[in-house]
């Protein structure tokens, strides 16, 4: 992959990256910072991309790691924000955006990638380095907690 390829593809992906970061971190400023950080990390490593067809999932994975590190940093400063999977009623009481943000991380990542980023099951599995079946299980669990009745087609099939 050339530098020009990277710059063009990263810029084209910024909208999806922003959506993931905003839903994960909650604030616009934090989301922009996370996208900038992920695109910078990607820039430093684009020469190592051996399979350009997986570029999007590669950069999304970097962003997820950036967001994870940011959440870890926040946890050191603030009380833990996520709710347990058993707190079904608590999710009901929250606006959807906030409820997604408070999902346990494994469920949150799947729901964001599948339904707000438009990744297929396979792409989501690749971005998160988990089996396809695990994606499907987490997707079901997250939709149930959020009381969302979405078809697979409303993500990407």
């Amino acid at each position: 992959m050339t530098e020009l390829d990277y710059l063009e593809r990263a810029e084209a992906l910024r909208g999806k990256l922003y959506g993931i970061a905003l839903l994960t971190l909650g604030s616009e400023a934090a989301a922009i910072d996370a996208v900038d950080e992920a695109v910078y990390k990607g820039y430093r490593n684009y020469r190592k991309v051996r399979q350009p067809q997986y570029f999007d999932t590669w950069l999304i994975r970097i962003l997820i790691n950036v967001c994870r590190d940011e959440l870890r940093r926040r946890k050191r400063e603030l009380a833990v924000e996520t709710l347990p999977e058993t707190a079904g009623d608590a999710y009901d009481a929250l606006p959807l955006k906030e409820a997604i943000r408070r999902l346990p991380e494994p469920l949150r990542n799947v729901i964001i990638l599948r339904y707000f980023t438009g990744l297929t099951l396979e792409e989501t599995a690749a971005a998160l380095s988990i089996p396809r079946g695990t994606v499907a299980t987490r997707q079901r669990k997250a939709l149930s907690l959020l009381k969302l009745d979405l078809m697979a087609e409303e993500g990407a099939s």
Partner: protein, 434 residues
């Protein structure tokens, strides 16, 4: 508002991108540039803008070159083709391009060799093909009498540019003044399969001695110690298209050198840090060590003997050439693992429609830990079907190196390690060349 409405409104909300997000890729590029400069170094010709500016300067100030190339659109193409290579850009800037402009037809595909940049170490051939399809060229070398030459290798990379290039690496060859390129083409499909076209095209090229530079040798002859392994930094050979760093080992070393992370600085702190070109290092048929490394050209640097070599990392393979045997039912292993490996997992997967075992080795090191040729319990060799590499992103997210095994019917497999240890000095070792 019910959840479904909330969902669709949230999706719509996410479509509204803040303007501050625009230009994120360029910001990353600028930040990387500033980060380097923040270490107190300048950059010679590293950036695309810098390279293009230098090239435009060359076109404006070297009318002979512009005349030789003839057509301005071609110049722009050549600038694009070499823009990301500081060495080739510098060679172009210093008028080491030789115009060829010959066309031959191979199996109904017209191929034109436009230019070559030649020196004692390599010849870079720029060519184009006419017609739809993705073609890549390679060649055999003959002298002016049609006698085959030996002692070279050819690498032909992928490129979306109309003006493509391949490199001829001159390992043990003295270039004649008249060189015949016996050029062949392969057509590549979208899936990466390729088929060779019938026939060859012969291009007779007279190499201008004025533009076929001799190598400049900078003797160094200094020993360095890297974690108990001693290396002799023997010499540099500089040509317009690249630099060769020649090392040698102390015979009492217990490991072969596999790779080296190094760069150079000038007395004014200018940094030269690009492993430019398709070949990083060459080894020896007699042992698995690598002691000759390729680097961006330092040919045009004033007083190269005043440069300082910095060595940040050396990767080693123990001379006992250890192996690891992996139980494919549990992921358990016996033997040795390279430094940095944190986990081995095995799981059945679908690979291009076939049942396969995915052998995943997680490692904090930024390199494939195992070779690609495995050994079955009966001693037979097994070539893995494919592999993938998901890069590390910090120590908490190690790289995942996956090897795909199809049609493999044993419960265990043995792999040779591609390296064993990594030496990273707390501060890079410095070796003043003079």
């Amino acid at each position: 508002m019910n959840r479904q409405q909330e969902f669709w409104e949230l999706k719509q909300q996410l479509q509204q991108l803040p303007p501050e997000l625009d230009g994120t890729a360029q910001r990353a590029r600028q930040r990387a540039k500033h980060r380097r400069m923040g270490r107190g170094f300048g950059i010679s010709l590293g950036s695309l803008a810098g390279v293009c500016a230098a090239f435009i300067l060359a076109v404006n100030t070297m009318p002979t070159f512009a005349l030789a190339c003839g057509r301005v659109p071609i110049l722009r193409e050549l600038a694009a083709a070499v823009a990301l290579s500081p060495s080739l850009s510098a060679a172009v800037e210093h008028d080491f391009v030789q115009y060829v402009g010959q066309t031959q037809t191979i199996d109904d595909v017209a191929v034109t060799v436009e230019y070559v940049i030649a020196d004692e170490q390599q010849i870079v051939v720029f060519y184009r093909t006419v017609g739809s399809g993705d073609y890549r060229a390679s060649c055999n070398l003959l002298d002016g009498n049609g006698t085959a030459l030996h002692g070279y290798s050819v690498t032909s990379g992928d490129s979306d540019e109309d003006l493509k290039q391949f490199e001829i690496h001159c390992k043990d060859i003295t270039l004649p003044e008249t060189l015949v390129l016996e050029l062949s083409l392969r057509r590549f499909t979208e899936t990466g399969d390729s088929v060779a076209l019938d026939g060859v095209g012969r291009f007779s090229i007279h190499l201008d001695p004025e533009k076929t530079a001799k190598a400049v040798v900078v003797p160094v002859e200094q020993w360095v110690d890297l974690d108990g392994q001693r290396l002799l930094v023997d010499r540099l050979e500089l040509t317009p298209t690249r630099t060769l760093l020649y090392l040698d080992e102390d015979p009492s070393n217990t490991a072969w050198l596999q790779s080296l992370d190094f760069w150079f600085t000038a007395p004014d702190s200018t940094l030269y840090d690009q492993q430019d070109g398709t070949v990083a290092a060459t080894g020896d048929a007699d042992h698995p060590g690598f002691y000759t490394f390729y680097f961006q050209s330092l040919y045009f640097v004033d007083h190269p003997e005043q440069l300082t070599l910095h060595i940040a990392e050396a990767v080693w393979l123990d001379k006992s050439e250890p192996t690891v045997t992996i139980d494919l039912t549990s992921g358990a292993w016996t033997g040795s693992l390279p430094e940095g490996v944190v986990e081995i997992e095995v799981q059945p997967v679908d690979y291009d429609g076939s049942s396969a075992l995915e052998l995943t080795v997680s490692t904090t090191a930024d390199r494939m830990p195992l070779g690609y040729l495995f050994t079955a319990p009966d001693g037979s060799a097994y070539d893995c079907r494919g592999y993938s590499y998901l890069m590390a992103d910090g120590p908490e997210h190690p790289a995942r190196c996956c090897y795909y095994l199809t049609g493999y019917n044993w419960d265990t497999i043995t792999a040779a390690l591609s390296y064993t240890d990594i030496t990273t000095p707390p501060e890079p070792l410095t070796v003043p060349l003079s």
